[in-house]
């Protein structure tokens, strides 16, 4: 198990999806949960230590359901990776709950360059397999399986 940092941000799960990669992300609130879930995607794509953020992308999403919002948020990152040709290492999320959940996100990263970054997996998609967002005691938790 790869436990990132002293304060658990996310954890890769080894025996959940044999050909793919599963992880759990944690957060004290929804903002932190979403940020950590995004960081796990960033780390799967490239070694974060080799990325120097030079570009910034802002986007907004909304959804009535929190799990669908997370699914769309992570899928948006994969879309931006390919369409903007970037890998990312920083993320800031702000979620407000009115009638719907409204999300504002800023992600930062750099143009892909195999000479500069240590690239890892070209993630195909976020799957709905065992996909879950829930609150346990005082902590938010999400389970994600990505197709590699």
């Amino acid at each position: 198990m790869n436990i990132n940092n002293d304060k658990r941000k996310y954890e890769f799960l080894e025996n959940v999806a044999i050909a793919d990669i599963a992880y759990e992300a944690y957060g004290k609130d929804l903002n932190e949960l979403f940020e950590n879930a995004a960081l796990a995607i960033f780390e799967l794509s490239a070694d974060l230590k080799t990325i120097y953020a030079k570009g910034k992308i802002e986007f907004q999403l909304d959804n009535e359901k929190i799990d669908n919002l997370l699914y769309d948020f992570l899928s948006e990152i994969l879309f931006l990776k390919d369409s903007k040709y970037m890998v990312f290492n920083k993320v800031k999320v702000e979620i407000k709950q009115n009638k719907k959940y409204n999300l504002k996100a800023i992600i930062e990263g750099d143009t892909i360059n195999p000479q500069k970054q240590r690239l890892e997996n070209d993630i195909k998609a976020v799957t709905m397999h065992m996909f879950e967002v829930k609150k346990e005691k005082n902590q938010w938790k999400a389970r994600v399986v990505v197709d590699i």
Partner: protein, 489 residues
């Protein structure tokens, strides 16, 4: 939090390589599930397979059985190795039964070179392929298609490539469905999918995708006559195999429609065990839209493998200073293993149109099947099963038994037995690269950890998979192919 499933107690052996789980196993099963495997492979299967294949057996309109092939393993929604056919009037279509990598598939190309010719230049050859066929995260291809060209690619697939000088005319008849699915409708594809995938034509991707240089060994020719008909004419002959799909374009279409389908299941009164089994009636607007968008991705994948072939021919031609035509770089075949298609099959003695889903399963049509090109009428359809990059791959041929039993389907690869993380704990990419070189396989990869994840020990023994499909009679081995050079995505 791991999901623990038990192997079903009431699994029954129907034949030497067929195992059946009855409908009584799970509430809602409409048909039994059947797993094609030797006892050894069945015992080694992760228990998630049994859960997933029986979930599929609950989907509306499913016909005969929910199948899992011998290389089956736990996937998302459907197991990898899953085959399911649905009534085209009353049944469903499910993106989870196809996979995000729509028309991921295999292409095999011959040369008239032998191992002796290639060995001294192997490094140069692999390095050339590595630089001309980009792989890994965010790679961009050499075909700089604009939006209107990309729209044509969505509609015409390989045909567009050949018309634009990225291939030979004969390549088309050697591709499943002539490399073009004619029910594609670009209007059903989101602008996001186009934006994501437009510049990726000519790229391998990552994960288990590869471009491999292989050699035919005398002891691996199992049917000399058929091998010759497919273009494998002598021992020591060198061939090239490609495994890749529709890249970000297909992945985005899968993502878009998964969300759409999830939102309409209630409307159609469909309940599923797993969100990844989201589906819609095939005849519904959403079902038809997905079917047409999926065809666009399938065409893009055919085109992707076609332009990659063009690069392979250029590369060989450059390294050996001989034209590709003179090197006799003919295609053996190109076949999809992640796709759904409307096909005619016999159910209870009657011909019926079915939506056949193959997810990690290869079509294996017999001789004289009306969908095969003339050149394969007598032989049957070539089937390409890719092994791990260390163990080798196989060329087989489709059979009537596959048509009768498994909707004309067989296995697609060796199938993982070990998770990616576990494989990385066992070996480092750099070490694996050295070990493989000692075994005579020169490999080049964009990601060393990605390489480690694809180590041979993480997969089932391909020979066991071939034994199983061969014993079951759902395809027949023609030639085994041994890797000597590999570009890994």
């Amino acid at each position: 939090m791991q999901q623990n499933f038990e192997k079903p107690k009431d699994i029954r052996q129907v034949d030497k390589t067929i195992w059946e789980i009855p409908t009584s196993y799970k509430k809602g099963m409409l048909v039994p599930a059947r797993i094609y495997a030797t006892k050894k492979l069945l015992d080694g299967m992760d228990n998630g397979v049994f859960n997933q294949v029986t979930n599929v057996a609950c989907l509306p309109g499913i016909q005969k059985y929910a199948f899992c092939m011998p290389d089956g393993h736990w996937g998302y929604g459907f197991p990898i190795g899953g085959v399911a056919a649905f009534d085209s009037e009353t049944g469903v279509i499910s993106p989870g039964g196809i996979g995000f990598d729509i028309n991921c598939g295999m292409r095999l190309v011959t040369t008239n070179l032998t191992f002796k010719d290639v060995q001294p230049r192997l490094r140069e050859l692999v390095d050339t392929m590595f630089s001309t066929v980009p792989s890994g995260v965010g790679s961009r291809g050499f075909v700089d298609a604009n939006k209107s060209q990309f729209k044509e690619i969505m509609e015409y697939g390989s045909k567009w490539c050949v018309e634009n000088n990225y291939g030979w005319k004969e390549d088309l008849e050697r591709t499943e469905g002539y490399g073009r699915i004619d029910w594609a409708e670009p209007e059903k594809v989101s602008s996001k999918a186009i934006e994501r995938g437009m510049k990726q034509l000519g790229t391998l991707g990552s994960g288990n995708h590869y471009l491999e240089i292989q050699v035919v060994k005398a002891e691996n020719i199992f049917d000399e006559d058929l091998a010759k008909k497919f273009g494998i004419v002598e021992p020591e002959q060198v061939v090239v195999m490609v495994h890749c799909g529709s890249r970000g374009f297909g992945h985005q279409i899968g993502t878009d429609y998964l969300r759409i389908f999830e939102g309409v299941m209630k409307k159609y009164n469909i309940d599923v065990y797993d969100r990844e089994l989201a589906c819609a009636p095939f005849q519904s607007n959403e079902g038809q839209d997905y079917y047409k968008a999926m065809a666009c991705a399938a065409n893009m994948a055919f085109a992707n493998r076609q332009v990659i072939l063009h690069r392979i021919r250029e590369g060989f031609s450059k390294v050996f200073r001989t034209e590709a035509e003179k090197l006799e770089m003919h295609m053996v075949y190109d076949v999809a293993h992640n796709i759904a298609k409307l096909e005619e099959h016999v159910i209870d003695g009657k011909k019926k149109k079915l939506v056949v889903h193959r997810k990690g399963s290869t079509r294996a049509f017999p001789p004289h099947h009306p969908e095969l090109a003339k050149i394969f009428k007598e032989t049957g359809q070539p089937v390409i099963i890719g092994g791990s990059m260390e163990t080798g791959s196989f060329l087989l041929v489709g059979t009537q038994k596959a048509m009768d039993e498994t909707f004309g389907s067989t296995a697609h690869g060796s199938g993982r037995t070990m998770s990616r993380a576990a494989a990385k704990h066992q070996v480092r990419g750099e070490q694996l690269q050295k070990d493989m070189e000692k075994k005579g396989i020169y490999v080049k990869a964009t990601s060393m950890s990605g390489l480690a994840e694809e180590a041979g020990f993480a997969y089932k023994n391909i020979n066991d998979v071939i034994d199983a499909v061969s014993q079951a009679g759902i395809s027949k081995p023609v030639v085994g192919l041994k890797p000597i050079g590999n570009v890994k995505g």
